[in-house]
C-alpha cells in the first residue's frame, strides 16, 4: 500500500510538462496498475473540483483521492512551494476557497504568504507539506518554523524530501518527512510509483491518517486491533516468570541485549504452538550446515534402483551364482549299447525303444506363455470387476462392452491354451513312452540301456539361461541414470545454486574416489563382483565358464552384492551455472534462511536471521520476504539484533527484553507507530521505541535513515 502526496493532473503553469495532463480513463488505468492506495492531486495554484470528483469516482474503492494544491509561497522575498492537502469531505468548499483566493490571477504569477495560507486553508482540516532542503523551491528552516508556529497542530506540518533517502535522513534528524512523485510524465508513473513511501498500517481515510500523524494511541490501537492476534502465556524461564504476549498475524520482533533469553522465548512459543497442533520449530541461523541439510555425504540417502527404471536383477545374480554344469552323454554309453547286440527275440521285435526323443521344451514354453496370457487377462478382468470407483467412472454400458470383449479374448486364449497343452503333453507322453520302453527292455532282457539323448540340449539350455541372466545384469549395469537435480536457492547475481546427485552403477572398471556406495560405507567388493560378471559374459560358450563362476563365488564378501542396487554409486555436490561449486558460509546461511522463509508455514520462528549475512542481502531479499509473509497474514516471530529487520520491517509488535543491573529481565511490548514500549508487568516506566531500537540494535541509526520510505513514525 503506497501513498503519493504530490501529483499533478494538469499542465497549469507554462513551465509544466505537457505530460502532466492526464484524462480520467488514462488516470484510472494507470492507478489500477500500481499499489498506490492514497493519492493527493496537488496542481500548481489550481484546484479543479470537477476533475477531482471525476478522478475520485473513477478509482473509488481502489485508491483514495485527496484534494490539494501546490502553492507558490513568497516569504521575505524567497520563493518556495507549499503543498496543502485537505480532507476530501471539504473538497468542494476548499475548491471555492482556492478560486476565491487566487481570483483571476494566473497560476504562473500567483503567490501567497505563509500567514495567508494558514489563515485561509487550515479550516479545511489541512496537512501542510513544505518543499524542504533539496526539494526546490524550498522553504527554509525559519519558514517551516514559522508555519509550525502558525498552525494549531504542528504534527500536520511535514517536510517534503526530493527522494526516499533524503526523507530518511530528515527523519533520522527528527523531522517529519515524506516524499511524493511530483509526477512529470504519467507514462512513467507505474514504474516510478514503486519508489513511493509505503503505508505499513492500513489507512482508511484522511482523518485516520491525520490521527496517525498525531500518534493518537486510540487510532493506532484501533488499526492494530484489526489485525488478527492471539494472546499467549508462556513460561520459558520457569513458572516464576510468566510472560503474556500478543502475537500478531504479522511481524513480531524480539530484541534486546544478548543473554536476555530471546531464543528461550522463541522455543517456548514453538512448544506452545506445537501443543496446539501447529508444526513449528525455531530456525536457528548457523545451526545447520547446508551440506548436512542437503545430505551431501548421503548418510540418509536411499534409493530403489527399480524406481529409476533399472531392474535390480537379484534373481539373475542368484541364478548365476547357483549355476552348475550339465553333464553330457558319453560315447561309451552308445558304444556299450551297440556292442551288446540284442539277442532277445522279444526285445528285437520291440521298436518303440529305437525311436528318437522329440523336442518337448518348445511346446512346453509355448504352453507356459499362453497360460500366462490367460492369467493376465483374467487378473485384469477381476481388477475391473472389483473396482467400484472404476466402474463408476467408465459406466455400466462401457463396462459391459469391455467384459464382452474380454470374454471373447479369454475364449480364444482358452482354446489356444488347450491346443498348446495337448501339443506339449503329446510329446511329453511320447518321450516318456520311449524312456519307459528303453528302461523296461533293458531291465527285462539285461540289454544295455540305449542312450536317448546326447545331452546337447540340456547342456545348451543351461548355458542359454546363464547367458540370459548375465546379459540382463549387464544391460542394467550399463544403463545411464539421469542426475537428480534439486534447487537449493538463489545466490543473487551469481545465479541459482543446485544440489546434484550423480548416480552410476559399478561396472567393474569405475574407480572414481568422489563416488561412494549408497548401500554401505564399508569396503565391499562391488567392483570385483561387477568385473567377474563381465568376465563370465566372455566365457559363456567356453569350457572354463564354471571356473569363472567359481571365481565370482569366491570374491571376498561378494555375497553382500545381491542386486544391482548394491552396485549403485553416487556423488552429491552443489552446482552453480552447471559447474561444481562450494558455497561460502555466508552463502549457505543466505540459502538456508531464504529456504526457511520460502516454506509455506503458518508460523515462522526465526532466531537471529542476520547471522553470517550481509546488510544488502537482509535489506534486499530477507526484509521483503518477511514483509510478504506478514501481508499474507502469517505469524512471523523473529529474535534479532539487526536493525534492518527490527526497524525496517516496521513490526506490528516489538518485544524488548531488558536486562537491568540487578540481573533481572523485563519484557516490554510496543510498536513503531506509538513509538513506545510498555513493561508487561507494569514495573518499569515506558521506553521510547526509537531510542531503544537505535541503542540496542546493530545498524540502528542508519536503519532509521531509511525509514522515510515508509510512513508511520517520526
Amino acid at each position: 500500500m503506497k501513498i503519493d502526496i504530490h501529483t499533478h493532473t494538469k499542465k497549469v503553469k507554462q513551465g509544466d510538462s505537457e505530460n502532466r495532463n492526464v484524462d480520467v480513463s488514462k488516470f484510472t488505468e494507470i492507478i489500477n496498475k500500481t499499489d498506490v492506495k492514497i493519492l493527493a492531486i496537488t496542481n500548481h495554484n489550481h484546484f479543479d473540483y470537477e476533475q477531482y470528483t471525476q478522478f475520485k469516482n473513477s478509482v473509488d474503492g481502489t485508491c483514495q483521492i485527496w484534494p490539494g494544491v501546490e502553492f507558490d509561497v513568497i516569504e521575505e522575498g524567497r520563493r518556495a512551494h507549499l503543498i496543502t492537502i485537505v480532507s476530501p469531505k471539504n473538497a468542494e468548499t476548499f475548491g471555492k476557497k482556492v478560486s476565491e483566493v487566487i481570483g483571476s490571477t494566473s497560476a504562473d504569477t500567483f503567490t501567497i504568504g505563509i500567514d495567508d495560507i494558514v489563515d485561509k486553508f487550515e479550516q479545511f482540516d489541512t496537512i501542510f507539506i513544505a518543499h524542504y532542503h533539496s526539494k526546490k523551491p524550498n522553504l527554509t528552516d525559519k519558514d517551516v518554523d514559522k508555519l509550525i508556529g502558525l498552525v494549531s497542530n504542528p504534527k500536520r506540518v511535514l517536510k517534503e524530501a526530493s527522494n526516499s533517502i533524503s526523507a530518511g535522513i530528515y527523519i533520522n534528524h527528527g523531522h517529519n518527512s515524506i516524499h511524493g512523485s511530483d509526477v512529470q510524465n504519467w507514462d512513467n508513473y507505474v514504474s516510478d510509483s514503486k519508489g513511493l513511501p509505503e503505508l505499513r498500517l492500513p489507512v482508511e481515510s484522511f482523518e485516520q491518517f491525520c490521527l496517525l500523524l498525531d500518534k493518537d494511541d486510540t487510532t493506532i490501537k484501533t488499526v492494530l486491533d484489526k489485525k488478527e492476534k492471539e494472546s499467549i502465556q508462556i513460561t520459558p524461564f520457569g513458572i516464576a516468570e510468566l510472560i503474556n504476549l500478543d502475537i500478531y498475524n504479522d511481524i513480531n520482533i524480539f530484541f534486546g541485549s544478548k543473554g536476555t533469553g530471546k531464543t528461550d522465548i522463541l522455543k517456548a512459543l514453538s512448544t506452545y504452538y506445537n501443543g496446539k497442533g501447529f508444526k513449528t520449530e525455531v530456525y536457528e541461523s548457523n545451526k545447520n550446515k547446508l551440506e548436512d541439510v542437503f545430505d551431501l555425504k548421503g548418510n540418509l540417502f536411499t534409493i530403489d534402483i527399480e524406481e529409476l527404471g533399472i531392474d535390480n536383477c537379484s534373481a539373475e545374480l542368484t541364478s548365476i551364482r547357483n549355476a552348475t554344469e550339465k553333464s553330457v552323454t558319453s560315447f561309451s554309453a552308445y558304444n556299450r549299447y551297440f556292442s551288446d547286440e540284442s539277442k532277445n527275440k522279444i526285445a528285437k521285435t520291440i521298436k518303440v525303444n529305437q525311436l528318437t526323443l522329440l523336442d518337448e521344451n518348445s511346446p512346453k514354453r509355448t504352453f507356459g506363455e499362453v497360460k500366462n496370457y490367460l492369467k493376465q487377462i483374467n487378473d485384469f478382468k477381476t481388477y475391473v470387476s472389483v473396482n467400484p470407483k472404476l466402474k463408476e467412472i467408465i459406466g455400466v454400458e462401457l463396462l459391459s462392452e469391455l467384459n464382452g470383449v474380454l470374454n471373447r479374448i479369454l475364449e480364444k486364449i482358452n482354446s489356444e491354451s488347450e491346443k498348446t497343452f495337448i501339443d506339449y503333453k503329446t510329446i511329453n507322453f511320447y518321450n516318456k513312452l520311449i524312456q519307459v520302453f528303453v528302461d523296461e527292455v533293458s531291465r527285462k532282457t539285461g540289454q544295455v540301456v540305449k542312450p536317448t539323448k546326447t545331452g546337447f540340449y540340456e547342456y545348451a539350455s543351461n548355458r542359454i539361461s546363464i547367458e540370459k541372466a548375465v546379459k540382463k545384469v549387464q544391460e542394467n549395469i550399463d544403463k545411464t541414470i539421469t542426475p537428480q537435480i534439486e534447487e537449493v536457492g538463489d545466490l543473487g547475481e551469481k545465479g541459482k545454486l543446485f544440489c546434484q546427485t550423480n548416480l552410476i552403477i559399478q561396472n567393474g572398471t569405475i574407480a572414481i574416489s568422489d563416488y561412494k556406495h549408497i548401500q554401505s560405507n564399508t569396503k565391499v567388493p562391488q567392483k570385483s563382483v561387477a568385473s567377474k560378471i563381465e568376465t563370465i559374459s566372455k566365457h559363456i560358450y567356453s569350457n572354463s565358464l564354471f571356473e569363472k563362476i567359481d571365481e565370482l563365488k569366491k570374491v571376498e564378501s561378494g555375497e553382500t552384492v545381491t542386486s544391482i542396487n548394491d552396485l549403485l554409486l553416487f556423488n552429491r555436490h552443489f552446482t552453480l551455472n552447471g559447474n561444481a561449486y562450494t558455497p561460502s558460509n555466508g552463502e549457505s546461511s543466505m540459502v538456508l534462511l531464504h529456504n526457511e522463509l520460502k516454506k509455506d508455514k503458518e508460523i515462522y520462528l526465526i532466531d537471529e536471521p542476520e547471522k553470517s549475512l550481509g546488510n544488502d542481502y537482509i535489506s534486499e531479499v530477507i526484509v521483503p520476504l518477511i514483509k510478504e509473509k506478514a501481508r499474507s497474514g502469517k505469524r512471523v516471530i523473529i529474535a534479532t539484533h539487526d536493525a534492518n529487520i527490527a526497524v525496517r520491517t516496521l513490526p506490528y509488535n516489538s518485544i524488548y527484553r531488558l536486562h537491568n543491573v540487578n540481573q533481572s529481565c523485563f519484557t516490554f511490548v510496543g510498536n513503531p507507530f506509538t513509538n513506545n514500549l510498555k513493561c508487561i508487568n507494569g514495573i518499569n516506566a515506558d521506553l521510547d521505541w526509537k531510542i531503544i531500537s537505535m541503542k540496542t540494535l546493530e545498524g540502528g541509526k542508519s536503519a532509521f535513515g531509511e525509514r522515510g520510505k515508509i510512513y508511520g513514525n517520526s
Binding site: 553333464s327 553330457v328 558319453s330 560315447f331 561309451s332 552308445y334 558304444n335 551297440f338 556292442s339 528318437t356 526323443l357 522329440l358 523336442d359 521344451n361 518348445s362 514354453r365 540305449k450 542312450p451 536317448t452 539323448k453 546326447t454 545331452g455 546337447f456 540340449y457 547342456y459 545348451a460 539350455s461 548355458r463 542359454i464 547367458e467 540370459k468 546379459k471 560358450y541 567356453s542 569350457n543
Partner: protein, 99 residues
C-alpha cells in the same frame, strides 16, 4: 537351415573319430575315448554356430560297422537337440542379429 557333413575317420580298428564339418572348421569327437570336456568343447562351438542359424548334420559313411551305428544314432539325436536349442535361442532373443 544349413546341412553340414558328418563323417567317421577310422585310424585303425581301435580308434575312430566323428568329424563334424562346419564350413572350413572341423569339429572332432573321438569315439573310442570318454572325454566329456572334448564333447563340451564341441557343443560350445555348435551353440555358437546355432546363434548364426539353424543347422543339422548328415552322416556320410560307407562302412556299416559299430562306429557307423553309434554315429548314426548320435547324429539323429543331436539333430533333434540342435533343433530344440535353436528354437530356445530364438525364443530368448539370443540369436545373432546378422542371422
Amino acid at each position: 537351415m544349413a546341412t553340414h557333413n558328418a563323417t567317421i575317420e577310422r585310424k585303425d580298428n581301435e580308434n575312430a573319430t566323428l568329424k563334424l564339418a562346419i564350413g572350413s572348421e572341423e569339429l572332432s569327437i573321438v569315439l573310442t575315448e570318454d572325454n566329456p570336456n572334448e564333447i563340451k568343447a564341441v557343443f560350445n562351438k555348435l551353440l555358437l554356430q546355432l546363434k548364426n542359424g539353424e543347422i543339422e548334420f548328415n552322416l556320410t559313411d560307407e562302412k556299416e560297422d559299430l562306429h557307423f551305428h553309434i554315429c548314426k544314432e548320435y547324429i539323429t539325436q543331436l539333430n533333434a537337440e540342435l533343433k530344440s536349442t535353436y528354437t530356445e535361442l530364438r525364443d530368448n532373443g539370443l540369436l545373432n542379429e546378422t542371422e
